[in-house]
């Protein structure tokens, strides 16, 4: 099985006694409320999804990541993982202080302890231009970054409470997915990232990867969504239906990746690949405009960027285009079908959504069992 990124799987979870002591003494620590996205980052760090990170990035790592996609120790890393804080709070803490990160809102839960190593400011414009290749505030990732507080706190984390989401049963930790792959005898595993229910094109891509890998990890991103996106429960139910009806037993696993989408295109594709490497995957499927939004990135930028990382330790499987070919009589990719555009029928996401919303099965695009599983839900889309 592939090694974790940076060589070692990080696990930073407090033992029961430490947890009790810290929770009892919580009032004596400075507390910083964090939003749901940061809670997910904390979990991903502390359970090793973001190995080798042991905490939020200090300035040397941050500069390396923003400047040239490398941590200070030269390990590839493409999206900064940082904790922002307002000026008042930032000025009140210094290196070697310990602070508690708590959930925002009523009845705060102590999520983690941060041993502060670094308190620093950063140039937001340079940050967004490097990470997102644009400073257009209409870009959702740029907008979210520009709204962040002006100071960053770096340092190692220790998890105190695991805040669970509604889909905790799918949220396997790297040690669990790694054990599962080992148990099933999977030496090579292809990861498929998704934010949508599967149509026949997705199934074709996944099964193509399965012909060269021992196993397939379908790993939808669960997190903050845009209005109009399919809901998380619909995505999970649709995949359960596909796996039950169309996959050979024990060749496929469905687990979630709980994280915020940054829509940073190529850089985010590398970030997504690293997380899947930590889950134990050897291959990562990269489609057209992976993690892109609008027309900020070229359709194949996310495939090109992998050439910069000979030491990434996870192999991209690139798909340029897949569609139905009337001459071949099946779903194909541009690599295996010699026929012209007059025979090509593209998958039409909009039509599929429309038909599902009207309670009709889009037979040409989707397995009926998958469509039926989706239509069992009253609300298909995020409002």
């Amino acid at each position: 099985m592939v090694d974790p990124h940076g060589g070692r799987l990080v696990e930073r979870v407090c033992g029961e006694r430490t947890r009790r002591v810290i929770t009892e003494q919580a009032r004596e620590f400075p507390c910083l409320p964090i939003d749901a996205d940061l809670v997910k980052d904390v979990k991903n760090i502390c359970f090793g999804v973001f190995s080798p990170l042991e905490g939020f990035q200090c300035q040397d790592d941050f500069d390396g990541v923003v400047g040239h996609c490398r941590l200070a120790n030269d390990v590839p890393w493409s999206i900064p993982v940082v904790l922002d804080a307002g000026e008042g709070f930032a000025r009140s803490v210094k290196p070697k202080d310990e602070i508690l990160l708590v959930t925002a809102g009523k009845d705060p839960v102590v999520v983690a302890k941060l041993a502060v190593e670094d308190v620093y400011q950063y140039d937001k414009t340079e940050y967004v231009r490097n990470v997102f290749k644009t400073d257009d505030p209409k870009h959702p990732g740029v907008k979210a970054s520009l709204e962040k507080e002006p100071w960053l706190l770096g340092g190692k984390l220790d998890l105190i409470a695991e805040v669970k989401t509604a889909f905790a049963r799918y949220n396997l930790k790297p040690r669990e997915t790694r054990y599962l792959f080992k148990k099933r005898g999977w030496k090579t595993v292809a990861a498929f990232q998704t934010r949508n229910p599967p149509h026949l094109g997705h199934e074709y891509v996944q099964k193509s990867a399965l012909t060269v890998c021992d196993g397939l990890l379908i790993n939808p991103v669960i997190g903050r969504k845009q209005p109009g996106d399919f809901t998380d429960e619909v995505i999970l139910a649709s995949y359960e239906a596909l796996i039950d009806n169309y996959y050979v037993k024990d060749t496929c696993a469905l687990t979630t990746f709980e994280t915020e989408m940054h829509y940073a295109g190529p850089r985010e594709a590398v970030h997504h690949a690293i997380a899947r490497k930590n889950l134990g995957c050897s291959h990562f499927i990269v489609g057209r405009d992976h993690a892109g939004v609008g027309s900020y990135y070229g359709p194949f930028d996310a495939q090109e960027i992998f050439k910069q990382f000979p030491d990434l330790g996870i192999t991209p499987i690139n798909f340029r285009a897949f569609y139905k070919c009337k001459k071949c009589g099946s779903v194909v990719s541009d690599k295996i079908c010699p026929h012209g555009p007059e025979f090509q029928v593209d998958f039409k996401g909009r039509v599929v959504r429309q038909m599902l919303a009207e309670g009709k099965i889009p037979c040409d695009e989707m397995r009926p069992e998958v469509a039926e599983a989706i239509m069992r839900y009253k609300d298909l889309f995020v409002l």
Binding site: M1, G7, H68, R169, P310, D311, G313
Partner: protein
């Protein structure tokens, strides 16, 4: 936030050999190409060093196995 660099001396003959290959690659400079090659080689060496490490202790195996069974991932 620019990358910082250090100087390394390599034999002129090796430099010439790499420079000759440069037009067949996507790299603009000898330094870029060398960095790429060294990272590629170091990654293989580091991977070999990690081989044979035990992934789980028997206690951990039992704990993970129970959880995966409860969640329906294994029979």
């Amino acid at each position: 936030m620019a990358d910082t660099f250090k100087d390394v001396r390599i034999p002129a003959s090796l430099y010439a050999r790499i420079e000759k290959r440069l037009p067949n690659t996507d790299f603009k400079t000898v330094a870029d190409y060398i960095s790429y090659l060294v990272r590629k080689i170091l990654d293989t060496i580091e991977e070999d060093e990690n081989k044979g490490k035990k992934d789980f202790t028997p206690d951990e195996e039992r704990e993970i196995e129970d959880r995966l069974r409860n969640l329906g991932y294994i029979d």
